[in-house]
């Protein structure tokens, strides 16, 4: 009830001291500030986590110098990047070149808005939540395309083109695998999807097709975020740094942070749609709703870890194999899977507790 009280109290207090219009604006600004903070903190934390996890996979220690246990390492990196000179190529398209990082970061922020952290901690609960997420996540690629094209570097251009190909293909799988789950829920609204899962997480309710959908979602989600083994866009051993070769300083950091936030978002969607979001397992902490954030983050982080595990184990695919995987394997399986799920729902074979 504590959480509820904080948001509601703030809301009530704001509306009591100011006229309605002003209060709404102030509230929006407050929410924006809160989300920006989440963005920054989550981004920095995820970078640190990635480096730590990578180190442990690789028999290393990882960052351990700045701050206790190296916790401030990414903060120090961010400060370093802030103070670095912003360089660029001479004949770059300056306007698009400067615009590109913001494209990437704004889409990441927008997607963050509809993620339900807990029952109350949910900034923007629209009824087309899932659809919104799918739509937004495909805008991010425009930033990458712009950045790659406008920096007037052949490596960047190749990276950007690869990114375009990749995102257009994997968009389908992301959408279809989520659609498979929508067949069960019958709703696109994220809060409602979670509500339905009170009678069992969707991955249990939909059992076989849901597991397949989850696997496809994780694969294509990894591809959507351009992470290894699908990091065709950066492919450091092939393209140097890919689309952000010519970016430096904070502009580079935007791309970098956005990648990690996107990873967080993909994991958060998976946690929400397949693993019941902020719901506790078997309802063990149903009486304490403020633990919702904890459960949500726990599930998300577990999935983030899975994505990191992929990254630090697998070799990279080649660009044509990437497309083969999508069009020859994921897409047909996905289509069959939707039919299977529809049959399941029609014949009432879903498992409900």
């Amino acid at each position: 009830m504590m959480q509820l009280r904080i948001t509601e109290n703030v809301h009530n207090w704001l509306f009591s001291v100011m006229p309605e219009g002003v209060a709404s604006i102030v509230e929006m600004v407050l929410i924006a500030v809160v989300y920006l903070t989440i963005f920054a903190v989550a981004g920095l934390f995820l970078v640190l986590l990635e480096r730590r996890v990578a180190a442990w996979f690789q028999l290393r220690i990882g960052p351990n110098r700045v701050g206790p246990q190296g916790l401030l390492q990414t903060m120090a990196d961010a400060i370093k990047l802030l103070t670095k000179e912003l360089t660029g190529t001479e004949r770059a398209d300056k306007f698009l070149y400067n615009l590109a990082p913001y494209f990437v970061i704004i889409t990441a922020l927008m997607a963050l808005a509809v993620i339900p952290f807990s029952a109350e901690f949910h900034a923007f609960d629209i009824n087309i939540g899932l659809f919104f997420l799918i739509a937004i996540s495909s805008i991010g690629v425009i930033g990458i395309l712009l950045g790659g094209w406008s920096s007037n570097n052949k490596y960047s251009l190749i990276g950007a083109m690869r990114s375009g190909v990749q995102t257009i293909s994997y968009e389908l799988s992301v959408g279809l695998s989520l659609l498979t789950m929508v067949v069960i829920t019958g709703s696109l609204q994220l809060s409602e999807i979670i509500e339905i899962q009170k009678s069992g997480w969707l991955i249990l309710q939909g059992h076989i097709p849901a597991v397949i959908a989850f696997m496809i979602f994780m694969i294509s989600g990894t591809a959507e975020t351009n992470r290894a083994p699908f990091d065709m866009v950066e492919a450091e051993s092939e393209l140097g740094a890919g689309f952000h070769t010519e970016y430096s300083g904070m502009k580079f950091a935007y791309f970098f942070l956005a990648e990690f936030i996107n990873m967080f978002i993909i994991s958060a969607i998976a946690a929400t749609v397949f693993f019941g979001g902020w719901l506790s397992p078997f309802g063990i902490t149903e009486s304490i709703p403020e633990l919702g954030v904890f459960w949500f983050l726990l599930k998300t982080m577990a999935l983030v870890f899975l994505m990191m595990w992929f990254r630090w184990t697998f070799p990279r695919l080649r660009v044509d194999q990437l497309l083969t995987l999508e069009w020859k394997y994921l897409l047909p399986i996905n289509l069959v899977n939707i039919v299977l799920m529809a049959l399941l729902v029609w014949l009432n074979l879903t498992i409900r507790l």
């Binding site: 442990w56 996979f57 690789q58 290393r60 220690i61 595990w309 630090w312």
Partner: protein, 158 residues
Amino acid sequence: MSYFSEIYKGIKTLLTGMSVTGKYFVTSRKGAITQQYPDNRDTLKMFDRFRGEVIMPHNEENEHRCTGCQKCEIACPNGTIEIIWDRGIDEATGKKKKKIDQFIYHLSMCTMCGLCIDVCPHDAIKWGQNFENSVYDRSTLTRVLNKPGSTLMQGVED
């Protein structure tokens, strides 16, 4: 059918790979290969034969074993060693005798090939295990190995 068996096999190999990294993820804190270098200075001991730099050992009486025969200077492929020598008068016999004035060692040119030490007939020079040779000024890498005022150890040449 081969389509599905291919998928199955593919996923299996991926999981095998993940089990390898997963095992190390769990156990790596014990088996980390990282050496935290400046912190482990106290425990870090180089092997006796480690080629860090060429040194010339002196005993307590400030005596070294170098007769100034210049074999090392000839053996060196890079001109790392320069010996400035002199003729002094041996006090015992009263004869003129070669002695070194300065044994100059350019560490910056040294490739650590070991030919000078290999060729030295009196073991006057040896390998030092110090490897922390970074300096701010390049000229400090040129060293005079014989200490000021040092003399030849008795009985080396015989």
